[in-house]
């Protein structure tokens, strides 16, 4: 990755804590997310994956500790500048008004608008490129409200790519996608992280796809602890079984691997503290 470098971002969390009411979801979490890394955030429902992504994106401050982008505390960034450096794809888009797919994607060029607030040809070209990258070109003129859930999801991903930020945070980008589109999407993200290079962090429930495409993983049980590191060190059958509270086994065949739920639950253990 020593080829012509564009803007490279380093995101770091310093001793951050995340709370949900009385519960402590994450405590004393320190981690650097470097350029060229594709991180998968996994964990049971309610473990705080969305909260973590919002915190890393600078939308909500952590309960304790702080997040820094390129060495500057994320709360000190001017919102417009921050939007050029990090894109966030939220979960569950709700479209109150009709709009074309192209306009939805083009909207993410907002941080780059100058003068009177109209897009330039460069912005339009970026939107077309993002649509092409997700094979959505033929949907460009469609009303977003007529799309299926999976198509809408890909449009949201195209919009996030169109923002052209070196740091990309995605909340469940694979939700509603069929298998082929899940793989296409991850291939694209892996390519995106490797070229340039950029930092991509996404939450995901499919541990096998994560093992295959991600470089790193962050496993959050939601009890204050976390396991972070290279994907094969973190998404192991032992750790994943513990975090998800169900035994998983790693099956290997012809160089392929899969984490699958064990056939029979062993003797009921005492619940994790």
């Amino acid at each position: 990755m020593t080829s012509a470098r564009m803007v490279v971002s380093t995101l770091a969390a310093y001793e951050i804590a995340l709370d949900a009411g009385e519960r402590v979801l994450l405590a004393d979490f320190t981690q650097t997310f470097g350029a060229g890394e594709l991180w998968c955030v996994a964990g049971p429902n309610g473990a705080g994956k969305t909260t973590l992504l919002s915190t890393l994106a600078g939308l909500v401050p952590p309960a304790r500790g702080h997040v820094a982008l390129d060495g500057v505390p994320i709360g000190d960034w001017r919102p417009g500048e921050l939007a050029k450096r990090r894109a966030l794809m939220p979960q569950n888009m709700h479209d109150a008004f009709s709009a074309t797919v192209f306009d939805i994607v083009l909207l993410n060029r907002f941080p780059y608008l100058g003068g009177w607030g109209w897009e330039t040809e460069r912005d339009r070209a970026a939107a077309h490129a993002a649509l092409d990258a997700l094979a959505l070109a033929q949907l460009a003129a469609r009303d977003v409200r007529s799309l299926s859930g999976g198509e809408r999801q890909r449009v949201a991903l195209a919009a996030a790519l169109c923002q052209d930020a070196p740091l990309l945070l995605l909340d469940e980008p694979l939700a509603h996608l069929d298998l082929r589109h899940q793989i296409d999407c991850l291939t694209l993200l892996a390519h995106w992280a490797r070229e340039s290079p950029r930092t991509v962090i996404f939450s995901c429930h499919d541990l096998n796809l994560a093992r295959r495409f991600a470089t790193h993983a962050l496993l959050m049980p939601g009890d204050g602890t976390a396991h972070a590191g290279p994907v094969r060190d973190v998404l192991t059958p032992e750790l994943a079984s513990r975090v998800f509270g169900y035994p998983l086994v790693l099956i290997e065949a012809d160089g392929h691997e899969a984490l699958v739920p064990a056939l029979r639950r062993p003797e009921r253990e005492s619940p994790e503290p």
Binding site: E81, P90, D95, D103, I104, F110, E119
Partner: protein
């Protein structure tokens, strides 16, 4: 949508408004040739002013300008509130501003107050309602949280509006018969006897400047708060700003001409159906089209049943409902 297309739409609407403006000066119980009417405007205060000059300058001109100003304010407020509440059914009166103005104004009418006191009371009622909504829903409105705050704001406004509605009914039942007609015209929206169009036009200039300068941000807000935050828009501040602009615009319109209905709901929608939902185009276009619509409706209101004059609010609805239904049906086909 690009800047050229938006400018073309604005110019077309402005040209139509210019034509209706001249027609409004020309047509009526006394017909005045267009050049004569414009001539009367061109030399204000010259000696030898005759009845025709007088009719054009002090009757038709203020009325046409007030109609344009009120319509523009209401349509602008409607467009802003539809984005603020992310609800296509939102309109300027949904958050209770007009109800508060109506109760105060009717109370003043019942007390036999002078016209300027009625106007002052209406404006005070509107401001009072804005203060109440802010008091109850300020946090929901301005708090920078990536979640939807609209239902709380909408419910607060709707409940207040309902309360004011009951107040209006109560006052109407208590009102002596001879005052009912004046109250009815106020409630329906009426441009007859508008004292001066300038407060409404000044309010329009301010509201348009305040709204058009954040139009690109409104495009982002219309897609939801999470998107707004991710793109670097301070949604809380923006929501507070457009609430205040929309409410004060509504207050200015209602104070000038009573509660002219229908404009604020339908004009932004008609433009959206015709030209799309880009706020950079829509905000100025709503103002132009709203002004055009009410000015035209008022021209009809004072000519179709002449010498009788109809309240302009009745015309906006009677004329606008079928047109809008037709647009909607054509679009969904």
């Amino acid at each position: 949508m690009n800047a050229q297309r938006a400018i073309a739409i604005w110019l077309a609407l402005a040209a139509l408004a210019g034509i209706v403006f001249v027609a409004a000066l020309t047509l009526g119980s006394v017909s005045v040739p267009p050049l004569r009417a414009l001539g009367a405007l061109a030399h204000p205060g010259t000696a030898g002013a005759d009845t025709i000059d007088e009719i054009v300058r002090s009757l038709r001109l203020p009325r046409a300008l007030a109609g344009f100003g009120c319509g523009a304010l209401l349509a602008l407020a409607g467009a802003l509130l539809q984005v603020l509440l992310r609800n296509p059914l939102a309109e300027p009166y949904v958050l209770g501003v007009s109800g508060g103005a109506a109760v105060f104004a009717i109370a003043a009418l019942l007390a036999g107050a002078a016209w300027w006191l009625v106007d002052a009371a209406a404006f005070a009622g509107a401001l009072f309602t804005i203060a109440l909504v802010l008091g109850f829903a300020r946090r929901a409105l301005a708090r920078g949280e990536p979640q939807e705050a609209s239902p709380r704001l909408l419910l607060t406004g709707v409940v207040l509006a309902t309360g004011w509605g009951a107040g209006v009914t109560l006052l109407l039942t208590l009102a002596p018969d001879e005052r009912l007609r004046g109250i009815l015209f106020w409630l329906a929206g009426d441009l007859n006897g508008v004292a001066s169009p300038w407060p409404a036009l000044a309010a329009l200039a301010l509201a348009l400047a305040a709204a058009a300068s954040v139009a690109p941000q409104l495009n982002v807000l219309a897609r939801g708060e999470a998107v707004a935050f991710a793109l670097g828009v301070n949604a809380g501040q923006l929501r507070l700003r457009i609430y205040l602009v929309a409410s004060l615009a509504t207050a200015a319109a209602v104070t000038t001409a009573g509660t002219i209905g229908f404009v604020g709901l339908v004009v932004p929608h008609a433009l959206r159906l015709a030209f799309g939902n880009d706020q950079r185009m829509l905000v100025p276009a709503s103002a132009l089209a709203g002004g055009l619509f009410v000015m035209s409706a008022d021209l009809l209101a004072r000519t179709v049943a002449a010498p009788a004059q109809l309240p302009v609010g009745v015309i906006t609805a009677l004329f606008g409902v079928p047109v809008f239904l037709w647009m909607l049906a054509r679009r969904s086909r």
